[in-house]
């Protein structure tokens, strides 16, 4: 695997079994994501976007195929190793913000740094990232004292505070209005451009597609289209 490849999927299949019923969420996905990608995975509901993101995020394990994330074969990792990979190398932004409700904005950011074992410098780092995302005035507020847009920006701050190589964002703008979506996406693109953090989104939102430099379309668990905007290529499966 080339050193610039962060995610490499070969024939990745995911089947959910409920009783005797099998549901194929992913059917042999082959794809690579490289350092610096700002990619959106789009597709209709049930196409496998979130499933794919969960597998890349080491939250789940593929039923078949090979998935390497940051050089790690996810299917061969223990639960604890996957947790460590998530903690140290992957940032997450969820659709419903998912901040710890009893912690302030700054404490939410510090929480992940503390999990990583960061020392006293975690407070300064949290303040720095919140300021970078325009949240310095809200650092002492708890999630229920913040707007949806502000909460999602805190979630982004939490995701990038530990300098991850990869940030996965599952429908990050789903609960935001247009203005807040634009602010958030612009911030994430700035982080991508300034710090080289790779972003992969799953989304239905056309605005995300507008900002993305690469758009991967999933249909029925297969890659239907993979377009990089400055040099468009198509790979229908």
């Amino acid at each position: 695997m080339s050193s610039s490849i962060l995610v490499e999927a070969k024939g990745v299949t995911k089947v959910y079994t409920t009783g005797k019923v099998e549901a194929h969420a992913l059917r042999g996905v082959d794809i690579e994501f490289r350092v610096g990608d700002f990619a959106a995975i789009v597709g209709p509901s049930g196409s496998g976007k979130t499933t794919f993101l969960n597998l890349v995020g080491a939250l789940d394990v593929a039923t078949d195929g090979e998935l390497r994330v940051l050089g790690n074969d996810i299917s061969r990792m223990t639960k604890r190793q996957r947790a460590d990979l998530r903690l140290n190398s992957i940032g997450f932004v969820f659709q419903a913000y998912n901040l710890v409700p009893v912690l302030t904005a700054q404490e939410n950011v510090e929480f992940v740094l503390e999990l990583q074992g960061a020392g006293e410098q975690r407070s300064n780092r949290a303040k720095e990232v919140l300021a970078q995302l325009g949240l310095d005035a809200y650092s002492s507020r708890r999630p229920n004292e913040l707007s949806g847009g502000q909460q999602q920006r805190v979630a982004v701050a939490r995701a990038v505070a530990a300098n991850p190589k990869l940030v996965l964002a599952d429908e990050p703008t789903a609960n935001l209005d247009g203005e807040n979506s634009d602010i958030l996406l612009k911030m994430m693109r700035d982080l991508n451009e300034a710090q080289g953090i790779t972003f992969i989104f799953s989304t239905h939102d056309p605005r995300v597609v507008t900002y993305a430099r690469r758009v991967v379309t999933l249909v029925d668990g297969r890659i239907d289209n993979d377009v990089t905007k400055n040099s468009a290529t198509s790979s229908a499966e």
């Binding site: 998912n98 409700p101 999990l115």
Partner: protein
């Protein structure tokens, strides 16, 4: 434990204030009940112990070897003065009182009633915990004190002259007139019911028992020395023909009652355990099921399951400790508020219906002065911490087995 885990756990208690308050209430009430029960039982045990080792039995007794079995007047200890002097040589001995007990008839006027002459060492018995402690005027020679129940029965009053008639130790007729100096109420029920209390010298003269006594009551300077005193005195040559026994062997039934009061404390402790488990387990279960999504998010971020488990255990311990602190404050408040005046449990039986409880010749006051010892609250604290941890096992086990993806779908 990382600070943030404890911090989150602490703050989580405030997320559902009503539920947390209910759990706290359950634990606090249980701890309060434990301390209130402990306080009352300790107060009651004190009454029993004081009644035993105080006026009536003392810490150690010496008798003629057959006295306790036969209660015959002639089964007496000879050379009482020298025996008492020897006993006083023991470093742990406080007071020593020689006593004589003799069945007699007492006649205030024409009718005669059964009574018991109790001759005792006036000086010694006037000290704290003696039969005559608290008496306004020392008992005078030629005068007697009469038990309040006997006085009520025969209609005797202070200042009245009564005739005392009985059989002396040598078989002769014992017969004399005495002035009732006062009516007394004391923890020795035999005195309340039938006692004609006189000085040892008067009793010795009346019953022809020169320098003799049926019983020597020894009070230690500090409690807990009864067996040491018994052992030392028994080894003295002068006591070769005298039976020396600690109070525990003289009234074993009352020792059993004291132990029973401890068991009541343990029973209350079990109630604390059960209430704490129910309160905390319910709160934690509800709280865990409500936060499955949140736990999923924490796991997704890379939190190790054991940290989530620690957080839940922390919450349980915080609730437990907080509940115990509140309950302890209430319990100590109750005891502090009633310690001085005491609680008259006799009045619960109706005004004037019940006064004290008599058992084995001892009058056990039902006016209880609650008292606590530090170990009482410590027991509750330890019990609740253990039960808090036990109550958190199930929810912690559930949380620890969550898969992030499934949990976040919840």
């Amino acid at each position: 434990m990382p600070m943030r885990t404890a911090q989150i756990a602490w703050r989580n208690l405030g997320r559902n204030k009503k539920r947390t308050a209910l759990a706290l209430l359950a634990i606090a009430v249980a701890q309060f009940a434990l301390l209130a029960t402990d306080g009352l039982m300790r107060g009651y045990s004190d009454n029993i112990r004081l009644a035993i080792t105080g006026p009536m039995v003392g810490h150690v007794q010496a008798h003629h070897p057959n006295w306790r079995r036969e209660w015959a007047l002639d089964l007496a200890i000879d050379e009482v003065d020298r025996i008492v002097s020897t006993i006083h040589e023991d470093p742990d001995v406080g007071d020593v009182s020689a006593r004589i007990y003799a069945p007699v008839l007492v006649a205030p006027e024409e009718d005669a009633f059964v009574a018991t002459v109790v001759g005792l060492s006036v000086d010694s018995e006037s000290n704290p915990y003696g039969v005559l402690s608290g008496l306004k005027h020392p008992l005078e020679r030629g005068k007697v004190l009469m038990g309040y129940r006997l006085a009520k029965k025969i209609g005797a009053k202070p200042g009245q002259e009564v005739a005392v008639i009985g059989q002396a130790a040598d078989g002769s007729l014992a017969n004399d007139l005495y002035i009732v100096q006062d009516i007394i109420k004391c923890p020795a029920d035999i005195i309340n019911q039938s006692g004609i209390v006189m000085s040892l010298q008067d009793a010795q003269r009346l019953l022809v028992m020169p320098n003799q006594a049926n019983e020597i009551v020894i009070r230690a300077k500090t409690s807990g020395k009864s067996r040491d005193i018994t052992r030392r005195l028994s080894q003295r040559p002068r006591f070769a023909a005298i039976e020396v026994l600690p109070w525990q062997e003289i009234v074993p039934e009352l020792v059993l009652i004291l132990k029973m009061s401890d068991y009541v404390g343990y029973f209350a402790l079990v109630i604390v355990f059960v209430a704490a488990i129910a309160g905390i387990a319910n709160t934690l279960m509800m709280s865990t099921f409500e936060r499955v999504h949140e736990f999923g998010m924490l796991l997704a971020l890379g939190t190790q399951p054991r940290r989530i488990v620690r957080m839940i255990v922390c919450e349980a311990i915080f609730i437990g400790i907080l509940g115990v602190v509140i309950g302890t404050a209430l319990g100590y408040g109750f005891v502090a508020g009633t310690a001085e005046r005491g609680i008259d449990m006799a009045s619960w039986g109706g005004e004037g219906q019940v006064e004290d409880m008599a058992y084995q010749g001892l009058n056990l006051p039902l006016h209880i002065y609650p008292r606590l010892e530090p170990v009482d609250s410590l027991l509750g604290l330890i019990a609740v911490i253990i039960t808090s941890m036990a109550a958190s096992v199930w929810p912690a086990w559930i949380a620890g087995r969550l898969e992030p993806v499934e949990a976040m779908r919840a």
